[in-house]
């Protein structure tokens, strides 16, 4: 059973380096089950989706990307991908609403496109979120585009998310009229509704957890719906609590470890100092696990559903994305 049955737009943010894009991709795969179709959007021009799924760089149009994670009920759904860049979005927007074919090109020549998409306050964000809004808005889409059951947005980092989604307040001081203002109001309606959830990814370290706490406060203050917290890159738990405590206190028995290693035929390695290496590994691991536990407790005080994903020592490839998707689903995120 999903924790987010009514959510159509899943926004995934997080501090840089916490695996935001990986989590967004895994969530899209996890949501695409039982025949549900999901759109995964990226807005930061990095072509991260193409790299993760090992496909050609994505154009400014929806592309079928992958089949979702199979489930027990019904067939798997599909994941489509959309790479939104502000220049294309602006020209499309002008062509659509104003039939500005010629002027659109002129605007480009005069540097207005560059101006609007890189410098004008909020316009860039309206254009980026606008395209995502088109795909996620209730009541189907103009022009008969494909309808999705859910949209996952790989969003800008926590520090910019409120500004990114809160485009209307940013614009309020400047554009009091005009279609950009009108559209941003419409979009805020969706972003502030129960059909949206802003999930935050973090790792169990002090700064990212602090940023998560700050992010939740800011999102709430802006009236944006806070979703879950995805804890990424959690260390393996190969030592049980008792062994972990002993490893941390330096109280593991070297004789016992040596005995086990020799029994497994590792005499050469024992002679090379493997026992000390393993005990040092254990001690270091215990220190880091204790730090993780402290941050986990801190996260628990934030009162949001949390989902944990393991650190994958071999890196994240396509197979790993499905593995992570499975873990998110098991924990009720999809």
């Amino acid at each position: 059973m999903s924790d987010w049955p009514d959510v159509r737009l899943h926004v995934v943010t997080g501090k840089g380096g916490t695996g935001k894009s990986t989590v967004a991709a895994a969530l899209a795969l996890a949501l695409a089950h039982g025949g549900r179709d999901v759109l995964l959007c990226e807005v930061e021009g990095r072509q991260g989706i193409a790299r993760m799924f090992d496909v050609e760089p994505l154009p400014y149009e929806e592309r079928r990307l992958a089949t979702g994670l199979p489930g027990r009920r019904g067939r798997a759904g599909t994941v489509h991908a959309l790479h939104v860049d502000p220049e294309s979005a602006l020209l499309e927007y002008l062509a659509l609403y104003y039939h500005l074919g010629r002027a659109g090109r002129l605007l480009d020549r005069f540097g207005v496109v560059d101006f609007a998409t890189t410098l004008a306050p909020g316009v860039r964000d309206v254009l980026l979120t606008g395209k995502v809004f088109e795909a996620a808005k209730p009541g189907g889409r103009r022009g008969g585009g494909r309808a999705y059951d859910a949209v996952v947005l790989d969003a800008p980092p926590t520090g910019r998310i409120v500004q990114f989604l809160g485009v209307s307040s940013e614009l309020a001081g400047l554009a009091k009229v005009g279609p950009v203002k009108h559209q941003s109001d419409l979009m805020m309606g969706l972003f502030r509704s129960e059909a949206t959830a802003v999930h935050l990814t973090t790792v169990l370290e002090e700064m990212p957890v602090q940023e998560t706490a700050d992010g939740i406060t800011e999102l709430r203050a802006a009236g944006l719906p806070v979703g879950g917290v995805v804890v990424d890159m959690v260390r393996p738990r190969d030592l049980d609590d008792e062994h972990l405590a002993a490893a941390g206190a330096g109280a593991l028995d070297p004789g016992g470890v040596e005995h086990d290693l020799r029994a497994a035929g590792l005499d050469d390695e024992v002679a090379d100092g493997l026992v000390d290496v393993l005990l040092a590994d254990g001690r270091d691991h215990a220190v880091r696990r204790r730090l993780e536990d402290a941050q986990r407790e801190r996260l628990a005080t934030l009162g949001r559903p949390t989902y944990e994903l393991p650190r994958l020592a071999g890196g994240v490839d396509l197979g790993a994305l499905y593995e992570l998707a499975g873990l998110l689903r098991e924990q009720g995120m999809s």
């Binding site: 306050p121 316009v123 393993l278 254990g282």
Partner: protein, 394 residues
């Protein structure tokens, strides 16, 4: 599981190791006047800059570090939680070698205001500072932060060279989407401020621009439709007030750019051992070379420490096999868990080394230093000293 097998066939990895980046030599070199730390977000640029600055100061340099967005506790420990745009002395450094350390957190809007105030008459400055378009431009536009980081660097460097307060400026760069933004955004902003669009708004019927006015009606019409007439009017007022400053902005940006190309400047590209961060680092390295900017080397932060801190006694695969064997005899043995941890760590180290080797294969001349991840976060001077020691390879 023999450990001394002969190597057969071509090596599967990149081959030659990258040259080692000697951080202490860089910091000790009196001709090094500016160190710029750049890289994509979340790779530890701020901590690296602060650690380098502290290390240089404790080795006798007179240092100022400009940071963008330090973690709160780190900022507190350096005494810079106040955003006042002025370097403040850092308390608690070891001054035995005769060095000093000042630190400053960049206030983007204030830096912009200062530039305006220094360039315009008081009346005009007040008019510009109150314009709504300016307020938005100076506080939230993409690119402003990069532009202002460079502007502040230029200011501090000029002052330092004039009065000898500092002999080394260490700069942290903004947490951009891409490290390239740091080099591109100032150009974008100044070319916008200087640009044809602005000129047209200002004087549509003047001189050679006149034959374009047919297009101009369409352009302003479209802009008005898009963002509303009020914004356009604000922009025009702003542009009119700002007109005399445009040349100044362009000239300042160009001066700072030239400063970055100068011999006394050293770029350090910061990355983490992840494909995305290293790809960014590679782009940036190439871009620096294209722009004739002096690259000192690559810092790879947050590397997994080698198991046991020393040479690999067991590879990842060997450790997994050993764990299985021990586990068969005694599933509850702690040795199984330790071997699995060892395998996990060895796998991470092997993967990271491969990634860094690949960077080295493509950029064989770039010196590299790998910095092991600390167990906890850095939020005091001792933590920064520890990072500094790791940066210096110790």
């Amino acid at each position: 599981m023999s450990r001394h097998r002969p190597r057969v066939g071509p090596r599967s990895s990149g081959g030659e190791q990258s040259p080692h980046l000697d951080v202490d030599a860089l910091l000790a070199d009196p001709t090094t006047r500016i160190v710029v730390c750049c890289g994509s977000g979340g790779v530890g640029k701020t901590t690296t800059s602060a650690a380098l600055a502290l290390r240089a100061a404790e080795q006798g340099r007179k240092v100022v570090v400009l940071t963008i967005d330090p973690a709160r506790r780190l900022a507190q420990s350096m005494g810079i939680e106040e955003l006042d745009n002025t370097p403040r002395p850092v308390v608690g450094i070891d001054a035995a070698a005769g060095g000093t350390l000042d630190a400053m957190m960049l206030d983007m809007k204030r830096t912009f205001d200062e530039v305006v105030e220094s360039q315009a008459s008081p009346d005009k400055a007040a008019q510009i500072l109150a314009n709504p378009f300016y307020v938005a431009l100076s506080s939230s536009f993409a690119g402003t932060q990069e532009y202002m980081a460079m502007e502040k660097l230029g200011q501090v460097h000029r002052d330092a060279e004039a009065d000898g307060t500092y002999d080394l400026v260490v700069v942290d760069t903004p947490p951009s989407r891409s490290a390239l933004d740091f080099l591109d955004a100032p150009e974008r902003l100044s070319s916008f401020l200087d640009g044809r669009f602005i000129r047209l708004l200002l004087a549509p019927a003047r001189g050679p621009a006149r034959f374009m006015t047919a297009g101009l009606g369409l352009v302003t019409g479209a802009v008005t439709k898009l963002i509303g007439a009020q914004v356009l009017r604000d922009m025009q007022t702003f542009v009119a007030a700002f007109d005399t400053l445009f040349g100044g902005f362009r000239a300042r940006a160009e001066r700072t750019f030239a400063l970055l190309q100068a011999d006394g400047t050293a770029f350090l590209v910061v990355a983490s051992p992840e494909p995305d961060a290293l790809r960014e680092a590679a782009y940036f390295t190439e871009r620096l070379a294209d722009d004739a900017m002096p690259l000192a080397g690559l810092v790879v932060n947050r590397c997994s420490a080698r198991p046991g801190g020393g040479a690999a006694v067991l590879s990842a695969d060997e450790a997994v096999a050993a764990a299985t064997r021990v586990g068969k005899r005694d599933p509850r043995s702690v040795t199984t868990g330790l071997l699995r941890l060892h395998a996990d760590r060895a796998r991470a180290v092997e993967r990271e080394e491969r990634l860094v080797e690949r960077f080295g294969a493509a950029h064989p001349d770039v010196p590299v230093v790998a910095v092991a991840a600390l167990a906890g976060d850095v939020h005091d001077l001792d933590g920064l000293r520890a990072v500094g020691r790791l940066l210096a390879g110790g």
